[in-house]
C-alpha cells in the first residue's frame, strides 16, 4: 500500500512548552488512523502542524512519498489534498449550508476576476457545477434537508456533518477530522461511523482525533496514542487498548482530575 502521509520527527515548541515532541507517524493510503490521548496531549497541535497552521519547530510532514508539506501555508496544503475539520466547529455562520460546501470547492475551481466581471458561459457552467456538487455532498453526508438554512441555525449534529461535507468538497486525499463525534448521542455517533466508512470507500485516507472510544475502536485500522506531546503507543485498536502504558496514561490523568 502506498504511503499517504509521513510525519517525521515532528516537534512543536512554544516559548518553552514542548507541545509535540519528536513524533513519528505514517498513514497508508485508504487507512483510517485514529489519534487518541488525554486532553492536552498535543493532538490538535499535531493536526495544526500537518495542515499548515503552525510551522513545526523541527521535523517534517510529507504527502505521499516525497511532497513536503511542512512550512507551506494552510491553503496550499489544502489544495495539495490535506483538508481538515475543527474541534470547535468552524463553519461560516451566516452563509447557508450549501454555500458553506460551495466554498469548499474554491481550490478546485478557477473563475477569477475577469470571469466574474464578464460572466462567460464557461464560468456560468462552473458555477452550476459547483452548486450541484455541493448538493451531492450535502446529501452524501446526510444534511440535504438543511441546504438553504443558515449554518449557525443548524442542529449540532448537522453542523458537524456539514463541516465534513465542506471538507469533502475540496477533494482531499487525506481528511483530518478533529473530534467529529464530540457532543454526539449514540444514534448520531452511529451515523458518523457509517459516514466515515463511506468516506474511506471513496479512497480517501482518514486521520482522526477522537475521544469516543467506540468510534475509535470500531473503525480504526491503526491507533496512535499521544501523551504530553509524545507518541507512547501505536498499533491496532486491540493492541493499544491492552497496552499498559496507555492505560497508565489515561488512568493517571483520571486520578489527576483530568477526565
Amino acid at each position: 500500500m502506498a504511503q499517504a502521509l509521513a510525519i517525521q520527527n515532528l516537534t512543536m515548541r512554544f516559548d518553552g512548552l514542548t507541545a509535540v515532541d519528536h513524533v513519528d507517524l505514517s498513514l497508508q493510503d485508504k487507512q483510517i488512523v485514529s489519534l487518541i490521548g488525554p486532553n492536552g496531549a498535543g493532538k490538535t497541535t499535531l493536526f495544526n502542524c500537518v495542515t499548515g497552521h503552525y510551522a513545526p519547530t523541527e521535523g517534517t510532514v510529507h504527502l505521499g512519498r516525497d511532497e513536503l508539506l511542512s512550512g507551506l501555508p494552510p491553503h496550499t496544503i489544502a489544495k495539495k489534498g490535506v483538508v481538515r475539520t475543527f474541534q470547535n466547529i468552524r463553519l461560516f455562520p451566516a452563509m447557508s449550508a450549501v454555500e458553506n460546501v460551495m466554498v469548499g470547492r474554491h481550490c478546485r475551481t478557477r473563475a477569477g476576476v475577469l470571469g466574474a466581471l464578464l460572466g462567460p458561459p464557461s464560468v456560468r457552467r462552473e458555477e452550476r457545477a459547483i452548486r450541484e456538487r455541493a448538493r451531492e455532498l450535502l446529501a452524501f453526508c446526510g444534511a440535504a434537508a438543511y441546504e438553504n438554512q443558515q449554518a449557525r441555525n443548524l442542529p449540532y449534529g448537522a453542523q458537524r456533518r456539514l463541516e465534513i461535507a465542506r471538507a469533502l468538497a475540496a477533494e482531499p486525499r487525506i481528511l483530518c477530522l478533529d473530534e467529529p463525534a464530540a457532543g454526539m448521542n449514540p444514534r448520531e455517533t452511529a451515523g458518523l461511523i457509517a459516514l466515515i466508512t463511506a468516506i474511506r470507500g471513496l479512497a480517501i485516507t482518514v486521520f482522526l482525533i477522537e475521544h469516543h472510544m467506540n468510534v475509535v475502536m470500531s473503525i480504526s485500522d491503526r491507533v496512535a496514542v499521544m501523551d504530553h506531546g509524545v507518541k507512547i503507543a501505536e498499533g491496532t485498536a486491540d493492541q493499544v487498548q491492552k497496552d499498559p502504558v496507555v492505560i497508565a496514561a489515561y488512568l493517571g490523568e483520571a486520578v489527576g482530575n483530568r477526565l
Binding site: 501555508p73 455562520p93 466554498v103 466574474a116
Partner: protein, 395 residues
C-alpha cells in the same frame, strides 16, 4: 404616602447620577464654551437624561424597543432579495433610464451637484470592494484617487495624454500603488491595517504637497483638458452627468457580478472565518490583495474623472477627511450592499446642499452621527441580509 416614598427612594440614585453628569459636563465645556453657552450644553444633557429616566419609568422596555426598531429586523433586505428574479433584473436598468431622462430636465447647477455625487458613488463602490466585500478596513482610500487624478493632470498638461487613455492608465497606476502597499501590509491585523492605510494616505498627500517639481506642490496643477471624443469636447455639466451615469452603471454592474461570483463567495467566507477559509484552500492573502488592488484601480479611475471635471487638482482635495467621508458612505449605506452603498453615497454627497444654511455644523453632526450609527444601526441603512446577520450575531 408609601407610594410617593417608594418613588422618590427608587429615583434617588438615578437622579443623583443625572445631576452628577450634568454638573460634570458643565465643568467640562465651561473653559471652552464659556459660562453661558456651556449652560445650554448642561441643559441638553439634563434633558436627555430626564427623558431617558421618564421613558424607563413609564415603560421599562420602551428604550429597548426603540433601539430594536432602529436596528431593524433585516426583513426589508430579505424581502428585497426574495423579489422575483425579473424584478431584480428590470429594476436597475429602469432606474438608469429614469435618471437619464431626469437629467434632461435638470438645471446646470443640479447636474453639477449630481455629477459630483456620481464621483462619490464611484469611490464608495470601489471602497465597498475592499471594506464591504473583503471585510478589510481601509482608512486612506482617497490616496488612490489622488494617484489617478495627478496622473491625468501631469500627463495631460505635459504630454497631452487623452482622457480616454488616462482612465485605464490612472487606474492601473493606482492599482500598482495598491499592490505595493498591500503586499507587505495585508497580513496585518484589522486595526493595524487601518492605521497603515491611513499612514499611506497621509504620506501620499504630504508628498504631493511637497514634491514641487512634479506636482507643483500646494498650488496644484491647472489647465487640465476636459475629455473629448471625435472632436466633441465635454464642456457642459450635462456631458459630465451622462458620462458619470454611465460609469456608475458600469461600476454597479461589476460590483453585483463580483458579489455573486466564486470570488465574492470566497471573500464572504474570509470575512466570516478567515482560518476556516484558509483551511478550505482559499488563498486569503492573495484574495485580500486582489480586493485591495481592484479597489485601488477603481479609486484611480474615479480620480481621473474628478480631475477631468475640475480641470484642476491640488493636494487639499485628497485629505483624510475625504477618506473618512467615503468610508462613511459605505458604512452608512450598508457595507457590502451595492444598492446600500449607492444610497449612502448619494445621501452624503447631497447633504452639504441640503444643509447649506448650517454648513459649519455639518462635520460635528457627522461625527456624532457616526458614533450613534454604530450603536443603533451598525449595519447601515440598506444592508445585504447576510451582513445584517453577521452584525446580529456579533451583538
Amino acid at each position: 404616602m408609601t407610594q410617593t416614598g417608594d418613588v422618590s427612594h427608587v429615583l434617588r440614585a438615578p437622579l443623583a447620577r443625572a445631576a452628577g453628569w450634568t454638573a460634570a459636563f458643565y465643568l467640562m465645556v465651561l473653559p471652552l464654551m464659556g459660562p453661558r453657552r456651556g449652560l445650554w450644553v448642561a441643559l441638553a444633557v439634563l434633558v436627555v437624561q430626564a427623558l431617558a429616566l421618564a421613558a424607563d419609568r413609564v415603560s421599562p422596555a420602551s428604550r429597548e424597543r426603540l433601539a430594536a426598531a432602529l436596528r431593524g429586523s433585516g426583513r426589508f433586505s430579505a424581502w428585497m432579495e426574495l423579489r422575483p428574479a425579473w424584478v431584480r433584473t428590470v429594476a436597475p436598468p429602469a432606474l438608469l433610464l429614469a435618471l437619464a431622462a431626469a437629467g434632461l430636465g435638470m438645471s446646470p447647477y443640479t447636474l453639477d451637484v449630481a455629477t459630483n455625487a456620481g464621483i462619490y458613488v464611484l469611490l464608495a463602490l470601489g471602497l465597498n470592494i475592499v471594506v464591504g466585500m473583503a471585510g478589510l478596513l481601509v482608512l486612506g482610500y482617497i490616496a488612490f484617487s489622488a494617484v489617478g487624478a495627478y496622473t491625468y493632470a501631469i500627463l495631460n498638461t505635459q504630454f497631452h495624454l487623452s482622457f480616454w487613455l488616462a482612465l485605464p492608465l490612472g487606474g492601473a497606476l493606482a492599482a500598482c500603488f495598491g499592490l505595493l502597499l498591500g503586499l507587505p501590509t495585508l497580513r496585518l491585523r484589522g486595526d493595524y491595517l487601518a492605521i497603515v492605510t491611513l499612514g499611506f494616505g497621509e504620506i501620499t498627500r504630504i508628498t504631493l504637497n511637497n514634491w514641487n517639481s512634479l506636482t507643483n506642490g500646494p498650488n496644484g496643477i491647472l489647465g487640465i483638458q476636459p475629455p473629448s471624443l471625435f472632436g466633441f469636447t465635454f464642456s457642459q455639466p450635462k456631458h459630465y452627468f451622462y458620462l458619470l451615469l454611465a460609469m456608475v452603471a458600469l461600476a454597479a454592474f461589476f460590483s453585483r457580478r463580483l458579489e455573486r461570483s466564486r470570488l465574492g463567495r470566497a471573500w464572504v467566507a474570509m470575512r466570516e472565518d478567515e482560518t476556516a477559509a484558509e483551511s478550505m484552500g482559499v488563498p486569503t492573502l492573495r484574495l485580500k490583495l486582489l480586493a485591495f488592488t481592484l479597489a485601488a484601480f477603481w479609486g484611480g479611475v474615479a480620480g481621473v474623472l474628478f480631475a477631468s471635471k475640475q480641470l484642476f487638482v491640488s493636494p487639499e482635495s485628497f485629505n483624510f477627511l475625504e477618506s473618512v467621508m467615503v468610508l462613511c458612505m459605505v458604512v452608512l449605506g450598508g457595507m457590502g450592499s451595492v444598492p446600500g452603498v449607492i444610497l449612502g453615497a448619494v445621501l452624503l454627497a447631497f447633504l452639504p446642499e441640503v444643509l447649506r444654511g448650517v454648513a459649519e455644523y455639518r462635520l460635528i453632526v457627522f461625527g456624532a452621527a457616526m458614533v450613534l450609527l454604530m450603536q443603533y444601526r451598525p449595519q447601515g441603512i440598506w444592508p445585504s441580509s447576510r451582513r445584517y446577520e453577521e452584525f446580529r450575531q456579533e451583538a
